[in-house]
Symmetry: C2
Subunit: 378 residues, 2 copies
């Protein structure tokens, strides 16, 4: 890594965006913010602009301050000639269009947005190949797999995605139905945004990660195992053709995979990174995952295997259902029910275009609301 | 890996040698035995010759059978032009000379012999660099580190050597002094030769491995941690500059690191390799090592840090002490005492020549026997 790498952070006021800026702040001689993009959090965006003086920024809300360099779209930042790396840390489907713009500009892309790969993995990977854009995963699980695959020539035999299990992994079915929003937002090991914290508690998130891994690493769902590993120290593992397994370990801190993606293929010297002391942790434990008590995971893997527009429908229905749960209009265990009913009603489109994916997304949102109304949501 | 790789197995009737032949047997289209060398076990050598029809073989004992291709030294096999890979699986200092012959012939060398690197690591690594000979570790710990370093560009920050702790790790001092030969030869996780099984029980073996790792990977003793990990599933770990750690895992079976060294940089497709199921193992545990109850480890690390001829003295004194223990002439806890007294008497030679190393070895053996006699060995 020579000189300074110029980084655009799309979704800079979200949880991943803030942690990305924290990483950039640590290495002022290696990383520099060139662009920022945010949604509604004007106060924080203003602070970030003041601190990092980006050449350009985008905001979807109306500004209450003025600063030079405002641009009219995230795409124009993602494809700007001076940008070396684009961090896509927006959540939801708004990440897809700037991701494609960055790909078509041949950028290195540090990808935190889940929905883009889950709903349009086929298109994203084909375009990345065509434009030789590097997609560098930021999620701890995919970063772990990517690190384990480093330098290996042969295709892996199996991936093990680890999951903390979230706060309710040992709850009985009857307890799960009583889970409150406040409880669900308290994740035992990871600091994350609200939506992904709920998706972690239902384990739907792990299913989305399996779909992402399928696209990123070209591995079939039959060759992926999900392991409950409550300590969140082993972030995932790869089994090779000869039976040897590599694992990546670190204290649960998103800044490490972010830093790895931003500095790749180098590893930056980080004396402040928390040191893992396994003699203090003493035990790393593993359990099989129970898809009966966590039906969201089963549904996500099912949608992933079916492919086509099913993953888009899964994401859209989940977004509505999680929103209803956060509004306390749906019990925790009602999330899976909504997703399941919407998936059941869907007519799949195989190898869909972007338009067909967006159409499926729209259909699924409407259907999810309709199902929720029928179920006499509070 | 194109075509068939021709392998010479030096020490073919020992534990590692037999397991190496087992690996070669599994891949007849990729690996072929071209040379064998053994010591006293004529019966087994005869069987191996009958099965593998090597072009050449060496035996230090007088033959009771006749077969073409007998050569007069291990060195002539190690440096033979047709040999692609030399497995050095002889134990003790007899491995050093054929190792140097293989190095000077620029061979790929799968190294299982500990003493060569421990006693003459400086010379071995300098010669390997000079003759561009690849040294491929076969020990599970060093293979794990080597696998974790694969594809990484920057020097690691720390190595974690794991140790099962042997059969007596939770014994009190008073119990340790009562340990019988039979108990000491029963290792909980690994199948190995007698000498290394006793060295595992005293933890001296882990100290030798630290010295080997120091030479193989250029890591100082300050940047090596030893972790007791009774399940022997994580075979070692590497911490990088950014704080990320990689580990290599597999069921404890020496055939995997042997196969990895013989097929490197490929990984062979092994459908028969035992599959690791962490949901059955459930828990991987880690404890700090107690150098007070296992003084052999402390002595070995001390000798490693001092360098020069100290490691040769350590190995020689240990060989005598273990032999006395196996003959039931010394208690288990007496092994460390002999080593410590011999080390205390030694005058170090820094950057020793091979002759000086061999002289130190001879001196240490004599001194060890003298110390043992004084201690009124049974």
């Amino acid at each position: 890594m020579r000189g300074v790498r110029k980084v655009a952070v799309l979704g800079s006021t979200g949880s991943i965006g803030q942690q990305a800026l924290d990483v950039i702040r640590t290495y002022p001689r290696r990383l520099q913010v060139i662009g920022l993009a945010a949604g509604e959090n004007l106060g924080l965006l203003k602070e970030q602009i003041a601190e990092f003086s980006p050449e350009m920024f985008y905001c979807s809300a109306r500004l209450d301050f003025s600063y030079d360099g405002q641009v009219s779209s995230m795409e124009s930042i993602a494809s700007h000639p001076e940008v070396d790396v684009v961090i896509i840390a927006t959540s939801g489907k708004v990440g897809l269009s700037p991701l494609l713009a960055a790909i078509r500009a041949g950028k290195a892309i540090a990808l935190a947005n889940k929905e883009a790969l889950v709903t349009a993995g086929d298109i994203v990977m084909a375009e990345a190949k065509r434009y030789r854009a590097q997609i560098l995963p930021i999620d701890s699980e995919h970063s772990a797999i990517w690190q384990c695959l480093r330098g290996e020539k042969s295709k892996p035999r199996r991936l093990f995605l680890t999951a903390s299990g979230g706060p309710f992994y040992h709850y009985a079915q009857s307890q799960l139905s009583q889970v409150t929003v406040e409880q669900a937002l308290r994740h035992p090991t990871w600091r994350m945004g609200k939506k992904v914290t709920i998706d972690s508690a239902t384990l739907l998130n792990k299913g989305l990660e399996a779909i992402e891994a399928h696209w990123l690493f070209g591995i079939s769902f039959d060759n992926m195992d999900i392991l409950i590993h409550p300590q969140s120290i082993i972030h995932s593992m790869v089994e090779f053709q000869d039976g040897s397994i590599k694992a990546q370990l670190s204290p649960p801190d998103m800044r490490l995979p972010i830093e790895y993606a931003l500095s790749y293929p180098e590893r930056l010297h980080n004396s402040k990174s928390p040191r893992l002391d396994l003699t203090k942790i003493r035990s790393l434990t593993f359990e099989p995952v129970d898809q009966d008590r966590f039906p969201c995971l089963r549904l996500a893997l099912h949608a992933g295997r079916l492919g086509g527009t099913y993953p888009a429908v899964l994401c859209a229905a989940d977004e509505i259902a999680v929103e209803l749960f956060l509004q306390e209009r749906l019990p925790f265990t009602g999330i899976a029910g909504i997703i399941e009913k919407v998936l059941e009603q869907h007519h799949n489109v195989l190898r869909p275009s972007l338009e067909e994916i967006l159409a499926a997304d729209g259909w699924a949102r409407e259907m999810a609301l309709r199902v929720a109304r029928k179920e006499a949501v509070r």
